[in-house]
């Protein structure tokens, strides 16, 4: 998604190297995806549902 859109920043974080990140986001299962610190989910989602999660997080983030 970040390759396709200038509005997207994607970061893969290896939490075993950064345990403070795992603690902060209460990671119980991986992969755990967090969009704009507001919407999160664990496990892999099909592309369409992943996109829905991104769209869910974006309008709320821009209103702030």
């Amino acid at each position: 998604m970040a390759i396709e859109s200038p509005m997207v920043t994607a970061g893969v974080i290896e939490v075993s190297e950064f345990p403070e990140v795992a603690q902060r986001y209460r990671v119980y299962g991986v992969p755990k995806v967090i969009v704009n610190e507001q919407v999160s989910f664990e496990g892999a989602l099909p592309e369409g549902r992943f996109l829905d999660k991104v769209l869910e997080a974006v309008p709320r983030a821009t209103r702030a």
Binding site: A2, A10, G11, E14, E17, V30, V33, G48, A61
Partner: protein, 150 residues
């Protein structure tokens, strides 16, 4: 000792020769070897990540590595929003920003290889519907993908 096995090295070299189009740069943020290491601030996987990237660089002329020190090149790190190491910021035909924090080993290494190919070609396997939705995003999306080694 090499981190990549000879068979993997050959396979990757063939894949890069076949798939890479434009050059891709990996900005690698690390800490320079110093005689004064503060134990709590030591980067556990920086050296190995650097070795892995060197091996990857050796597999294609289209892969470039720029190594940055998190501390002495703080301005560059700030601009690329890197605050922890090891970190990789990938630069090619991407429109947004693609970063990795931690050593890309195991499954994440396969993801890195796929990303290098996509960045080199400027294409992804996303559906046209997804690409259209991303083109019309009303605001910024910062996506964090938290993983563990596999």
């Amino acid at each position: 000792m090499a981190l990549l096995r000879e068979a993997d090295r050959r396979q990757l070299s063939d894949l890069f020769a076949r798939e890479l189009q434009e050059p891709v740069t990996i900005h690698f943020f690390t800490q320079r070897a110093s005689p004064l290491i503060v134990p709590a601030q030591e980067c556990a996987t920086c050296r190995e990540t650097g070795e892995l990237l060197e091996e990857v660089r050796g597999l294609s002329e289209k892969i470039r590595i720029e190594t940055h020190d998190l501390v002495t090149e703080g301005e560059t790190a700030g601009r690329m929003r890197v605050d922890r190491i090891p970190a990789l910021v990938l630069q090619g035909k991407n429109r947004g920003t693609v970063r990795y924090f931690g050593m890309p080993a195991g499954y994440e290494f396969a993801v890195l290889v796929e990303d290098l190919v996509d960045l080199s070609r400027g294409t992804t396997r996303l559906s046209s519907a997804t690409r259209e939705a991303l083109a019309d995003l009303p605001g910024r999306a910062h996506i964090k993908v938290l993983v563990t080694p596999t």
